[in-house]
């Protein structure tokens, strides 16, 4: 229907070891078209975009952009050709103003910075697209949504013809999402092409012209939005793999292993990050908590793990009150914790696998005797866990940063599982992992549940939560909106609760 193809990617193949991240993917974008790229984490979306930007070289396939072949190119060359990307993590300098951020690395800004002129240009362009940005505002003072607008404006001013938006709505509030959608429509009207990466079906159907669904590195569906439904897309995205766990125990039957009462966490300026959250989890049960990133989930798990001091509330492991206990004491009481950030929190990337496996238990045997480390104990434990958890590494002395994300997470999982915890708290435990590694993590969590532990599993990935949770809750603006049994879950209502628009969330709150 639209004549000019902007981008044609053909038969893109990229393997990482045995994992086929991209397995013959075709992707077309025309001028004035918004293509939704759908898929779960690890389905190959980000690899495909890395190939497009020249961040990784494909094993096979070709890219034609505006009639010219792109191959062996660098990200810089992709941008010069007219492809730009707004990443989930912004590339902005907080201490500098909007205008300064836009001038960074921009040849047109000149050697001698014409700040006033550029500021005027920013003001005009941003007004034209409804972006509404003050060029003199320091980026550090801007909200998340405004920073994203800075990134979009940066791309527009640099003459991007194709804009890739990587999960742009995952941290936005509903009004900000509407604003973004308006901006996207204007860009489309200007004849720009947009690739909209998301796993939120409502947004994709609202704004896209066509949807391309990836699963396990292949295109499993491709349809104009007008001819498809959300349900179709959901089925394509998740595929055959969503199997509800087999037997559900009834929590009322046994005493809770983990109980949280009226837990509140305040931010540095007194804002309520977690407000009055109460729940309990029984042995052999997984409580899964959904929610858009930044609704207090991180603060909740950190307060439970003892890393963050709560403003109030009680935390019990079985019947022991551990509200005042430190991190080490909570570990000793059988609380394991998988935090979201592998690169800086749950692993020390420059230290060895053996040292990382000992990270939270180093004062216990076999890792130490008295105050002295036991190299033999470290090595023996590393050998055992590398074998037991199929960590692909040359040996215990290998520094962790040399491993893939999946193997890194296996180290964390091995450490937190091997302790034989009564309670496991996991937050985004499968974040950024390929499908195989994701499955591994989920299987391990389910095995632990089978062994009688209580699991609190928090993620932003709905499908992941539905495949693992016995009960599902939703966090919105620091409150636990409502916990329901897996069988009672209605996807539509869950989505509404995540957006905070559910009018029955009050009645649902247990």
């Amino acid at each position: 229907m639209r004549a000019s193809p902007l981008l044609e990617m053909r038969g893109i193949v990229k393997h990482y070891g045995a994992v086929r991240a991209n397995d013959g993917i075709d992707l077309d974008v025309s001028a004035g078209q918004i293509v939704g790229l759908l898929g779960e984490n690890g389905s190959g979306k980000s690899t495909l975009m890395k190939v497009l930007f020249g961040m990784v070289a494909p094993d096979a396939g070709s890219i034609v952009f505006r009639g010219k072949e792109l191959s062996g190119h660098l990200p810089r060359e992709a941008i010069a050709a007219g492809i730009d990307m707004v990443h989930q993590h912004f590339m902005l300098v907080e201490a500098m103003t909007v205008a300064e951020n836009i001038m960074i690395g921009w040849e047109k800004a000149g050697r001698w910075l014409r700040t006033a002129e550029i500021a005027e240009m920013i003001r005009e362009t941003s007004a034209g697209y409804g972006l509404d940005l003050d060029p003199r505002a320091p980026v550090g003072m801007l909200s998340f949504g405004q920073r994203q607008r800075v990134e979009i404006l940066k791309a527009i001013l640099r003459g991007a013809e194709l804009l890739v938006l990587d999960e742009p709505t995952s941290n936005l509030s509903p009004p900000e999402i509407n604003g973004l959608i308006t901006v996207m429509r204007r860009l489309r009207a200007e004849g720009k092409g947009i690739v909209f990466i998301s796993h939120k079906l409502a947004e994709v159907t609202a704004v896209c012209d066509e949807a391309v669904v990836l699963r396990d590195g292949r295109v499993v569906g491709r349809a104009p939005i007008a001819q498809t439904t959300r349900a179709d897309l959901a089925r394509l995205m998740v595929g055959r793999d969503v199997v509800a766990p087999i037997v559900r125990t009834d929590c009322a039957a046994s005493d809770p292993l983990l109980s949280v009462e009226n837990l509140s966490v305040d931010g540095p300026d007194g804002q309520h990050l977690v407000s009055d959250v109460s729940f309990s989890v029984c042995g052999g049960e997984v409580l899964a908590i959904a929610g858009v990133d930044g609704n207090g989930q991180l603060e909740l798990v950190e307060a439970i793990a003892g890393i963050r001091r709560p403003a109030g509330g009680t935390l019990r492991i079985r019947t022991t009150d551990v509200s005042r206990a430190g991190v080490a004491a909570r570990i000793a009481h059988g609380l394991s914790f998988i935090p979201p950030d592998r690169s800086r929190t749950s692993l020390v990337s420059e230290m060895s696998i053996a040292e990382n496996l000992a990270l939270r238990d180093v004062r216990q045997p076999p890792y130490s005797r008295g105050v002295f480390l036991s190299p033999r104990g470290l090595q023996a434990a590393a050998d055992r866990l590398i074998e037991g958890y199929a960590i692909r590494a040359p040996g215990g002395r290998t520094p962790v940063h040399q491993l893939s994300g999946g193997n890194q997470q296996k180290i964390v999982v091995a450490r937190e599982m091997d302790r034989g915890p009564k309670v496991l708290v996991a937050f985004q435990a499968a974040w950024g992992l390929d499908p195989g590694a994701t499955r591994f993590v989920l299987e391990q969590v389910l095995a632990l549940r089978g062994a009688g532990a209580a699991v609190l599993y928090i993620s932003t990935e709905l499908e992941e939560l539905l495949s693992i949770g016995d009960r599902i809750g939703v966090m919105f603006r620091g409150r636990l909106a409502g916990i329901m049994r897996r069988e009672e879950v209605d996807l539509e209502r869950l989505g509404l609760m995540m957006a905070g628009t559910s009018d029955d969330s009050a009645t649902l709150a247990a």
């Binding site: 793990a305 950030d341 020390v348 420059e350 480390l373």
Partner: protein
């Protein structure tokens, strides 16, 4: 620099890097000597002779190295945990003051008790000073660089105050204490030599710090804290307790350096005896790649350099302040090498 310094500390490796930095700084210094109209080869050979020319010269240089090794070891431990302690200067000064003060206030007659109490008092005084900086840092949220740096000035004034008052030698006309009793003099290692026990203490301390860093659970916690603060918290290590502990240990080592200087070299407390030691010890720690064992050769290098400098000044007429230039350039080259490695790693 204060912001980039901790990041630069991430990669601790390399005798090669240290050697390159030293070599480059010598070349640069040779150029400076040439510009000054002197012969750099003659200057360097005078320097070499001054450092290694006789047993006496070597003993003198070893004594010079001792405070560098002691203080540098403590600083290396702190820096490795990303605690930027630049209060060595003040901690050394207070260590000297503590040792002299206890000697005059609570005189001992057996050499063992005398040296023992004075060294312990020096360590306690140094630890008090660094502990104060740590307390200000932890409870009042003042950056440790600022707290340790500013306390240096106060420490120097305290030493001056003591020497102009209670501890001053009556009628000396110079701010110094009276000579300490013989019992307080650090024993020499060989009769007829100046080489005192200090160098042995320094090597023992550095080796102990090495074992602590690499073979104990406390050293493990230190290394985790240095690599990632959030990982240390996640692992259940108390960041404030660790910070306090390391600062106390580093302060005690610096205080020991000050006490050794007073008991082994001057036999009295002199105003300004600690001049520049604390800052040079930072260079020594970095040159030793923050590895306690490597701090030993780095400290020896600085000690021998200074010993040689005096001879160079006497014989060739090149001012010994050029040695400060060599030291400064070495530091710059080491930091440049660290920074460029960090960049290459990030790219």
């Amino acid at each position: 620099m204060l912001r980039s310094l901790p990041r630069a500390l991430r990669i601790p490796s390399g005798a090669k890097r240290a050697a390159t930095a030293i070599g480059a700084s010598f070349v640069a210094t040779a150029l400076l000597i040439l510009i000054a109209g002197k012969n750099p080869i003659a200057a360097f050979s005078a320097m070499f002779y001054g450092a290694f020319g006789s047993m006496d010269r070597i003993a003198f240089a070893c004594n010079k190295s001792t405070p560098y090794i002691l203080c540098g070891t403590g600083i290396a431990l702190c820096f490795r945990a990303r605690i930027i302690n630049i209060g060595g200067e003040g901690q050394i000064a207070l260590g000297g003051l503590g040792a002299a003060w206890v000697a005059f206030v609570w005189p001992q007659h057996s050499a063992f008790m005398a040296v023992g109490t004075a060294l312990l008092a020096g360590m306690a005084a140094g630890a008090l000073w660094s502990g104060l900086a740590a307390a200000i840092h932890l409870w009042r949220n003042v950056h440790e660089v600022l707290a340790t740096l500013l306390l240096n000035f106060i420490a120097l004034l305290l030493v001056g105050e003591a020497l102009h008052g209670a501890l001053g030698e009556p009628g000396a006309g110079f701010p110094q204490s009276s000579m300490l009793d013989n019992a307080y003099w650090l024993p020499v290692l060989a009769t007829g030599s100046q080489l005192h026990l200090g160098i042995v203490i320094a090597v023992v301390v550095a080796v102990a710090a090495h074992i602590y860093l690499w073979n104990t659970t406390g050293g493990f916690a230190l290394r985790v804290l240095g690599a990632s603060r959030s990982a240390a918290i996640y692992a259940g290590f108390s960041v404030s307790a660790l910070t306090m502990k390391l600062m106390l240990v580093a302060g005690a080592m610096a205080g020991l350096a000050g006490a050794v200087e007073v008991l082994g070299v001057h036999y009295r407390l002199i105003e300004g005896f600690s001049q520049g030691f604390g800052f040079n010890a930072v260079v020594v720690a970095l040159l030793g790649a923050l590895n306690p064992l490597s701090v030993i050769p780095a400290g020896l290098f600085f000690g021998f350099l200074e010993a040689g400098a005096l001879a160079m000044q006497r014989q060739v007429g090149v001012p010994s302040s050029l040695v400060s230039v060599i030291q400064g350039l070495t530091m710059l080259f080491v930091l440049a090498a660290l920074a460029s490695t960090a960049q290459r790693k990030a790219a």
